[in-house]
């Protein structure tokens, strides 16, 4: 549980950080954000980065606010920042509901929103939020800056479109209209554990019927994603048990669940059914 030796760098600006990354990334140099995933991995020696570029001292990365109709979340914004709504309307409330499922309080005080995206655990709540709401991230390297849509960002278990020398500078989420209904539900064996399956959904009502439905799943497949089949099942329906069950059934049929020695695909499929329906029920009550 003692990490292998590494060199530690503490840049003060984004440019410094990016320049350092350009230099050390080829030798397995990595960004250190909240350290809540990276440091345990290093303690187990599953990762042995030779350089760490600690971004915690980069003041510009603490940005958190609304600009151009989007919520902008800088790379050093901690999970705990979301304990209270960070913006008005359904989005702030949704993020507040979601955050309490992420680990435990001390971990939420260190771990970052963007670090979760870069780490890309299949069950990460923030990754699910980004996938469900079609968020985007801004990535910067010595070669310049680019914007990556969530649907192109997650590439599998702990794999993203981010290049080794890129710093994820910020994540952005569209502000949700006041009439958007959102619901989130996850199942884990203990409070604070990574979810065995999680669902996030949103929709609006027009003339009592569901429009613009979004249903996304996390923890079930290698990456979180929207489930078109389930959304289709919901579109135009009157909210209620019948519609929610139909959408949940469609989600269950559409997923290709991960499987491991202690969790069968069949069980995860059952969970998908449960979490999808419950997320929809919560949206209905929101």
């Amino acid at each position: 549980m003692k990490p292998a030796a590494f060199r530690y760098h503490a840049p003060k600006t984004i440019d410094e950080a990016v320049a350092l990354l350009a230099e050390v990334a080829p030798q397995d140099g990595r960004v250190l954000a909240g350290g809540q995933s990276l440091v345990p991995t290093m303690a187990f020696r599953l990762a042995k980065p030779t350089h760490l570029v600690d971004i915690n001292g980069v003041a510009a990365l603490n940005r958190l606010g609304v600009a151009g109709g989007k919520l902008v979340i800088g790379a050093c914004v901690r999970h705990a920042a979301f304990h209270r709504p960070v913006c008005e309307g359904p989005l702030g409330a949704l993020l507040r509901d979601v955050v309490r499922h992420i680990a435990h309080y001390p971990i939420r005080n260190r771990g970052t929103f963007c670090g979760s995206l870069a780490h890309a655990d299949p069950a990460s709540e923030w990754c699910l939020v980004m996938a469900a709401l079609d968020g985007e991230v801004a990535a910067k390297s010595a070669h310049g800056e680019r914007v990556i849509a969530a649907r192109d960002f997650f590439k599998g278990v702990m794999t993203t479109a981010l290049r080794d020398d890129e710093l994820l500078v910020e994540a952005r989420l569209n502000i949700l209209g006041a009439d958007t209904r959102c619901g989130f539900y996850e199942f884990s064996r203990r409070a604070g554990d990574f979810a065995m399956a999680a669902a996030l959904c949103s929709y609006r009502l027009e003339a009592g019927k569901i429009v613009a439905p979004r249903i996304a799943l996390g923890g079930a497949e290698p990456s979180p994603r929207r489930i078109a089949e389930a959304e289709r099942a919901l579109a135009g329906a009157v909210p209620g048990d019948k519609a929610f069950r139909a959408a949940a059934q469609a989600a269950m049929a559409a997923v290709d669940p991960m499987e491991d020695a202690t969790t069968s695909a069949e069980f995860r499929r059952d969970l998908v059914l449960a979490v999808t329906r419950r997320a929809l029920e919560r949206a209905d009550k929101s």
Binding site: K2, R45, R189, R190, A191, G192, T262, F267, L273
Partner: protein, 782 residues
């Protein structure tokens, strides 16, 4: 929990310290961050040890390449088995057992590796980081052999000439076959308990130091059984016991697994002696989960012959005990005890138990809090529930018809546990159930659950009864003395794993001596202070060591009164000790003399000493040939989530009769802690393995322990109705009280919630397993 410590201003009033929930003497340094755990112990010039462990479940060692590791700057030495060929395998606590000797674990694997995590090499380096770097550089070439992972599978060869069934344990009495031939009903079950274990907050640690100036080998970081380990090391290393000092410091939890003698303990001792430098080893969590003792895994095929009224006529049990790769210090203790304690609180006229003690390619197993008892309580109570379901008799009524009554005490059962015959001393098992029912409003609870069920909720109630063993003898001794300042020192051979040992011993001594318990300093776990000790295990510390403390303190009291009588010119029997002052019973206030003053008068060279042996000191021994048997009942209320397979424990009730509680708050704390661990084994914790024998639960993300959200505060009924005549204070043990019946009660509650009697046949009941039960409509319906 409401604790209060009577103020010392109670001068003049006779205090009884026994039975009071006084504050713990241990706490001030612990809450101030001044504790000293194994990790806090350091010596100048120490080396750090890191163990290189097998990554294969089973294989022949072809070669171990250590060159790169040795070449790393800062590496002092690197050992494989060949370097310690003179060190024998880890011995059994009770000495050689020829039939089992071939199954002992070598300190470093030689020739063959038998589980993932088995120590293969040891690196000694200037710091812990370098040690770990070097360990990473050791390359093992292992010729893989097929792993054996199922204790039920046909035995294979363990080593040339020795099969993987290390022992076949038979216990029993009566004509079982006749009972089964004629019984109107036979109820049959197959039940499995998952592999799990105690996981203390503090991992293991061992610091070896050789004091060449005195020729003393020291082992620091000991726990549980320091004296036993001193004897074991003495035998293994050929060093007289008095030249080995074993020291216990603060211990962050033991639960039976911490403190046994493991390969790492032997290595730091041998290395310290050879290198003439202190050697420190601190286990990391991953190591802990694959290297420290596992426990519990058993599979029982059990049948009961029952008459038309649900009365048990005979029980026939065949079980498979998954021991893991080697037989460790306990030898057959758990597997043997399993047979002895399975019948529990019930009359069982005929009984046959056949235990297969089988080796597999997993981490070796041994005792974990309530060893054998957690397992068999699950098995027995499942069986009784199944009898109730089969005959359609109320679960409580079946128990009433089979439970041993108070008039049948003492109840002798011709079985053995821990080398003693089973001899229930006192108790009213069903009476305690009724008492708990009255306290919690049983009928109303049942009615509430019925109403919620009718409304569609999957809620249920489970009940389980148990009898625990405690206070294993045969003997324990305590030395007690008063210094010239009136401070009392109680030197015990007990051990403190965090349970409040010091406080309890101080209360017992204070009670006998008429002093404030805070005037007592209690020594434990130091083999250089007292030559005998039993440590702390099998719920025995309070029963055995407190009894010895009481005897020693009463002797000292008599000495003090005798000397005071002369000084105060009053017969000893007219005197009493109040708040550390000896005074006349009939004159209060009156002339008095403090215990410190008496110690001055008895000091060597004091004029008043006369012909007496110097010192105000005494030694007390307590001997016993029988354990004492506390008992209890658990009631669980659970809610099942049919869609996810999740189980929420809504309420939990524990009744326990301890005979006499020295410190009720500490007993309740033991019950709460035990309950939490029991819940772990019931719903969460399991050491799982892949088909290749790779352990899958090697971090706290995969070895899932219940945390505060998952654990309701149990509601406790601590009864003190049936003291035992077998020790001077009438006490029974507390350590294992909370854990024993949790798996049984929760299984029973889940059955009730899902409306499928006998559904739960395996612990832990994970969401996935429960979903499967619901999908199949239950399994093995009797």
């Amino acid at each position: 929990m409401n604790r209060s410590t009577p103020s010392p201003a109670s001068r003049g009033r006779k205090e009884s310290w026994i039975g009071q929930s006084v504050e713990r003497l241990e706490d001030p340094p612990l809450v101030a961050g001044r504790g000293e755990f194994a990790g806090d112990i350091n010596f100048p010039h120490q080396l750090h040890m890191r163990i290189v462990r097998s990554t294969h479940a089973h294989g022949r060692i072809v070669s171990i390449d250590t060159a790169a590791a040795r070449a790393l700057p800062g590496v002092y030495a690197l050992w494989t088995a060949a370097d310690i060929a003179d060190v024998p395998p880890i011995d059994f606590r009770e000495g050689s057992i020829p039939a089992l000797d071939p199954y002992r674990q070598p300190v470093l694997a030689s020739g063959v590796v038998r589980y993932v995590g088995e120590p293969v090499a040891a690196v000694f380096a200037e710091d812990a980081y370098v040690a770990e770097d070097a360990a990473d550089l050791v390359a093992m070439d292992i010729d893989e052999l097929p792993p054996l992972l199922d204790s039920q599978a046909a035995p294979v060869e363990f080593s040339p000439g020795h099969g993987s069934e290390a022992a076949l344990i038979r216990q029993g009495y009566g004509d079982v076959d006749a009972a089964f031939r004629t019984a109107p009903h036979i109820v049959e079950l197959e039940l499995a308990i998952g592999r799990h274990s105690g996981v203390p907050l503090e991992t293991r640690g061992a610091i070896g130091r050789y004091d060449a100036s005195r020729g003393i080998l020291e082992l620091h970081g000991a726990a549980k059984v320091p004296h036993r380990n001193q004897e074991l090391l003495s035998r293994m290393l050929g060093i007289p016991p008095s030249a080995i000092h074993v020291h216990e410091s603060h211990v962050g939890g033991g639960f039976g697994i911490r403190g046994e003698l493991y390969p790492e303990d032997v290595l730091v001792c041998v290395a310290a002696k050879r290198f003439k430098r202190p050697v420190k080893w601190i286990e990391d969590r991953r190591e802990h989960l694959i290297a420290a003792n596992h426990s519990r895994q058993q599979l029982h095929k059990i049948r009961a012959a029952v008459d038309a009224d649900g009365v048990i006529l005979a029980i026939d049990d065949v079980y498979f005990h998954d021991q893991g790769a080697y037989v460790r210090t306990h030898a057959t203790r758990v597997v043997h005890m399993t047979a002895g304690i399975l019948p529990g609180p019930y009359r069982v006229p005929a009984y046959r138990s056949v235990g297969h003690f089988r080796l597999t390619n997993k981490t070796p197993a041994a005792t974990y809090r309530a060893p054998g008892c957690y397992e068999t309580t699950f098995v027995r109570e499942r069986l009784v529930d199944a009898i109730a379901a089969r005959l359609d008799i109320d679960r409580i009524e079946v128990r009433r018809r089979n439970t041993i009554g108070p008039a049948e005490m003492p109840y002798l059962r011709p079985l053995e546990a821990l080398g003693e015959s089973i001899h229930y001393d006192t108790g009213d098992y069903m009476g305690l159930v009724e008492k708990l029912f009255a306290k919690i409003g049983w009928d109303k609870l049942k009615a509430d659950i019925k109403k919620r069920k009718a409304a569609g909720e999957l809620v249920g109630i489970g009940v389980a009864m148990f009898v625990e063993k405690s206070g294993l003898g045969p003997i324990d001794g305590v030395k007690i003395s008063v210094d010239t300042a009136g401070m009392v020192e109680v030197v015990t051979g007990g051990a403190s794993l965090g349970q409040g040992f010091e406080t309890v011993m101080a209360q017992v001594a204070a009670d006998a001596l008429g002093i404030d318990y805070r005037r007592c300093r209690v020594i434990h776990g130091q083999t250089d202070r007292i030559s005998h000790g039993i440590g702390a295990h099998a719920s025995r510390a309070t029963v055995m060591t407190a009894s010895a403390t009481h005897i020693a303190a009463m002797k000292l009291r008599a000495k003090a009164l005798e000397a005071a009588g002369e000084l105060l010119q009053a017969p000893a029997d007219t005197l009493d000790i109040v708040d550390g002052e000896v005074m006349r019973k009939d004159q209060n206030p009156g002339p008095s003399i403090s215990l410190g003053k008496i110690a001055q008068h008895l000091a060597p060279g004091a004029k008043t000493l006369a012909d007496r042996e110097p010192g105000l000191a005494a030694e007390g021994w307590f001997k016993t040939s029988h354990q004492v048997y506390p008992y209890g009942t658990n009631i669980a209320v659970v809610r099942v989530d049919a869609e996810t397979g999740g189980v929420a424990v809504e309420r939990y009730f524990i009744a326990y009769d301890i005979g006499r509680a020295i410190n009720p708050a500490l007993v309740e704390a033991q019950i709460v802690g035990g309950f939490t661990q029991g819940l772990g084994g019931a719903l969460f914790e399991e050491f799982t393995y892949s088909e290749a024998g790779d352990p899958l639960a090697v971090t706290f993300a995969d070895y899932v322990m219940p945390a505060i959200h998952e654990t309701p505060a149990p509601n406790i009924l601590l009864a003190q109705d049936y003291t035992t005549p077998l020790n001077p204070l009438g006490i029974k043990g507390a350590g294992e009280s909370g854990i024993t019946a949790v798996g049984a009660a929760i299984a029973s509650a889940i059955d009730d919630a899902i409306g499928i009697p006998g559904a739960v046949t395996q612990l832990p009941v994970t969401p996935q397993r429960l979903k499967r039960l619901l999908a199949n409509g239950g399994v093995t319906r009797p």
